[in-house]
C-alpha cells in the first residue's frame, strides 16, 4: 500500500518523459485499441467496484433485511453502533488489541530472523523458503484447525510443557488465552515480512558497516545507527501492510474461536461481527454501516502511520 501512494505520484513524470517523435508518431492516438483492451477493466471498475461502493454507502443509511425493499433510516445505524450496541464496541476493542499485539510481534520476529539470515551462508535460499512456508499455508482453514488442535488441552503444546513439568491451560476455550493463540498464529506467518526485510537489508551499502567498524562501533551500535534507519522505510511498509491485514482477520477468529465470537466474545473480531450481522441476522444496512466505519478507521490509522513517518522514517538523501 505504501508503494501504491508512491506510485500515483510516479504516474505523472511517466507521461511527460514520453518524448514526441520517438517512434510514436505525434498525433497518432491509440484510443480505439486502448478502449477495446481496457473494456474488461472498465466494466469491472464500474460494475464490481464503483456501483457497489455507492450502493454500500446508500445501504448504510437504510434498514434492509433482503425480504422487503431497503428503507431510509438516516444516521440511525451509525448512532446505534456507538450508543446501543455493546457487542460492537467490544468487537472494536478485541480487534484493536489483536492489531496492536499481532502486527508488532510479527514484525519483530520477522526482523530478528531476517538479521539471522542476512549474512550469506550455505543453505540460505532453503532456509529463507522454509521460514516463508507458514505464510503460504497460514491463512487456510486447514492450518486454523491444526492450530486449534496444537493448543488444545490434550494438544502437543501442552504435551511439550508437560516435559518441563508445567501443567498447560485450556488455551483455546479460555477467553483470556484464546486471543493469544490467535496472535501466535499471526506471528507464525512472519515469513512474508521477513522476506521483504531481507530484500531491504541487501540494499544497505556494506561500506557503511565497514566505516562504522573502523570507527569502533560495536554490533548493537551498528544495528541502531545504520540498520534501523536504513531499514525504516521497509519497516513502515511492513507495518502498514500488517496492521491493515490484522484488521481484516477473519478465518482465525472463526475457526480457532468457536465461530460465533466466543468463548464469551473473546474472539469477536470486527469482520466476524460484520459477517454475523450481514449473513446470519440479514441486517445488510447495519453491516454496511459497520464496513464504512471500518474503512474510516483504516484510513485514519494509515494516515497516522504515514504522518508519523516524518519522525522516524529515514528516506536516504
Amino acid at each position: 500500500m505504501a508503494s501504491a501512494t508512491a506510485e500515483s505520484v510516479a504516474v505523472r513524470p511517466d507521461r511527460s518523459t514520453a518524448a514526441p517523435g520517438l517512434g510514436r508518431r505525434p498525433g497518432k492516438r491509440q484510443g480505439g485499441p486502448a478502449f477495446i483492451l481496457l473494456s474488461p477493466w472498465i466494466i469491472g471498475t464500474v460494475g464490481v467496484l464503483a456501483i457497489p461502493l455507492l450502493y454500500s454507502l446508500y445501504l448504510s443509511f437504510t434498514s434492509y433485511d433482503l425480504l422487503s425493499a431497503p428503507h431510509w433510516v438516516g444516521f440511525a445505524n451509525y448512532r446505534r453502533l456507538f450508543t446501543s450496541d455493546p457487542r460492537y464496541l467490544h468487537s472494536i476493542q478485541v480487534t484493536a488489541e489483536y492489531v496492536v499485539t499481532s502486527a508488532p510481534l510479527k514484525l519483530l520476529a520477522a526482523l530478528a530472523v531476517a538479521l539471522l539470515l542476512a549474512r550469506p551462508r550455505r543453505g540460505q535460499g532453503v532456509y529463507r523458503a522454509l521460514f516463508y512456508l507458514p505464510s503460504l499455508l497460514g491463512t487456510s482453514v486447514a492450518i486454523a484447525i491444526v492450530w486449534q488442535g496444537t493448543f488444545d488441552t490434550d494438544g502437543p503444546f501442552n504435551g511439550f510443557l508437560r516435559l518441563f513439568g508445567i501443567r498447560g491451560e485450556a488455551w483455546v476455550s479460555d477467553p483470556n488465552y484464546v486471543r493469544w493463540v490467535i496472535v501466535a498464529l499471526a506471528m507464525w506467518q512472519f515469513g512474508a515480512p521477513m522476506v521483504i526485510f531481507l530484500a531491504g537489508l541487501k540494499q544497505i551499502p556494506r561500506e557503511l558497516y565497514e566505516a562504522a567498524e573502523v570507527d569502533g562501533a560495536g554490533p548493537w551500535r551498528r544495528f541502531r545507527s545504520i540498520t534501523l534507519p536504513m531499514l525504516s522505510p521497509v519497516i513502515l511498509f511492513n507495518l502498514v501492510v500488517e496492521m491493515i491485514g490484522a484488521f481484516q482477520a477473519f478465518t482465525p477468529a472463526q475457526l480457532v474461536g468457536d465461530g460465533q465470537g466466543g468463548p464469551v466474545d473473546s474472539t469477536l473480531f470486527y469482520t466476524l461481527y460484520l459477517y454475523q450481522r450481514a449473513f446470519q441476522f440479514q441486517q445488510m444496512g447495519y453491516a454496511a454501516a459497520m464496513a464504512w466505519v471500518m474503512i474510516a478507521g483504516l484510513g485514519v490509522i494509515t494516515g497516522l502511520l504515514f504522518w508519523s513517518a516524518k519522525y522516524w522514517v529515514h528516506y536516504g538523501d
Partner: protein, 282 residues
C-alpha cells in the same frame, strides 16, 4: 586447543540456531502430516509426530466426507474456481496493464491513477453490496461471483504487478514492432506477452494460492454441499464430526494443503522472489 575448537564450532552455531527455529516453526505442519496417519486415540495421547500405528484408513474415511458429499466434490470445485481465477487474472491483468503502460490515449494518467487507487479499497466495503448484486442476478450458490470478477481486472494487486513489470520492458520493442507494421494487438501478443512470463508466473501462482486458501467469500457465496470448496467442506466436516474424528480430519487437512506443498516445492525460489520484489503480503 581452544581456538581450534571455537573455529570449528562457531560457524556451525547460526546453522544450529536456524535449524532449531525451523523445527519449532514447522512442527504444527509435521504434526498434521503425522496425525493424518494416526488413530484418533493416538493423536490425543502422543506428542510424537511419527505415527506408531499407521492408519491410512483415515484418508478413505475422510474422503467419503459428510452427508453424502465426498471430498472429491470439494476438491473438484476448489480446482475449478482456482483455475478459473488464474486464467481470469492472467488474461485481464496483462491486457489492462498493456493498455495502461504502453498505449497513447486521452485520460491515460487518470485511468491508471484510478486503477492504482483501487489497491487501497478493502474488500469488506464491497462485500455486502457485491453480495446483494450477485444475489439479484441469481448467481449466489454458483462459481460466478468467485471467478467472473477475475476476468475484469479488479484484482488491483496483480494489475499493479503487471503494470510495473510492463513498464520495465524497453520501449524500443514497441517502436521496432510499429516500424515493422505491427498494430497494438500484435505487438502485445507477439512481442510483449512472451517477455511477461515472470510476471505471468507470479500472477498465476499467487492467484492460485490465495483462491485456494480463500474462505470468507467461498463461505458466503456457496450454500449447497455440492458446491462447497475444500475450505468450506473442511469446516463442515469439522462441525459434523465435532472434533471426534481427528484422524480423518487431519487427513483431509493434509489433502487440502497438499497442492500448496507441491507448488511450494516446485516454485519456492519464484515465490520468495515474487514477495521480495513486489512487497506482497503472503
Amino acid at each position: 586447543m581452544r581456538p581450534l575448537l571455537t573455529r570449528a564450532v562457531r560457524p556451525a552455531l547460526p546453522h544450529l540456531l536456524i535449524i532449531a527455529l525451523l523445527l519449532v516453526l514447522l512442527y504444527p505442519v509435521a504434526w498434521m502430516l503425522g496425525s493424518s496417519f494416526k488413530s484418533t486415540d493416538e493423536i490425543v495421547a502422543s506428542l510424537s509426530f511419527w505415527p506408531r500405528h499407521f492408519t491410512p484408513g483415515n484418508f478413505a474415511q475422510g474422503w467419503a466426507g459428510t452427508a453424502g458429499t465426498s471430498f472429491a466434490v470439494y476438491f473438484m470445485n476448489s480446482t475449478l474456481i482456482a483455475v478459473g481465477a488464474v486464467i481470469g487474472n492472467m488474461f485481464s491483468c496483462s491486457i489492462t496493464a498493456y493498455a495502461m503502460a504502453r498505449l497513447e490515449f486521452r485520460g491515460r494518467a487518470l485511468v491508471t491513477g484510478i486503477a492504482i487507487g483501487t489497491l487501497l479499497l478493502p474488500k469488506e466495503i464491497l462485500l455486502i453490496p457485491q453480495y446483494l448484486i450477485f444475489h439479484q442476478l441469481g448467481w449466489v450458490d454458483t462459481d460466478l461471483p468467485l471467478v467472473l470478477p477475475k476476468f475484469l481486472a479488479v484484482d488491483a494487486f496483480f494489475l499493479f504487478l503487471n503494470l510495473q513489470f510492463m513498464r520495465g520492458l524497453p520501449r524500443e520493442l514497441d517502436e521496432a514492432a510499429a516500424l515493422d507494421g505491427c498494430g497494438p494487438f500484435r505487438t502485445f501478443w507477439h512481442i510483449l506477452l512472451p517477455l511477461m512470463k515472470p510476471a505471468m508466473a507470479t500472477t498465476a501462482i499467487f492467484t492460485f494460492i490465495w483462491t485456494w486458501n480463500d474462505y470468507f467469500s467461498q463461505l458466503i457465496y456457496l450454500n449447497s454441499p455440492a458446491r462447497y470448496t475444500l475450505p468450506v467442506g473442511l469446516r463442515m466436516f469439522l462441525d459434523a464430526t465435532s472434533g471426534s474424528d481427528l484422524g480423518p480430519m487431519f487427513a483431509m487437512a493434509t489433502v487440502t494443503l497438499a497442492p500448496l506443498l507441491v507448488l511450494f516445492v516446485l516454485f519456492q525460489r519464484h515465490l520468495v522472489q515474487g514477495i521480495a520484489t513486489t512487497g506482497f503480503k503472503g
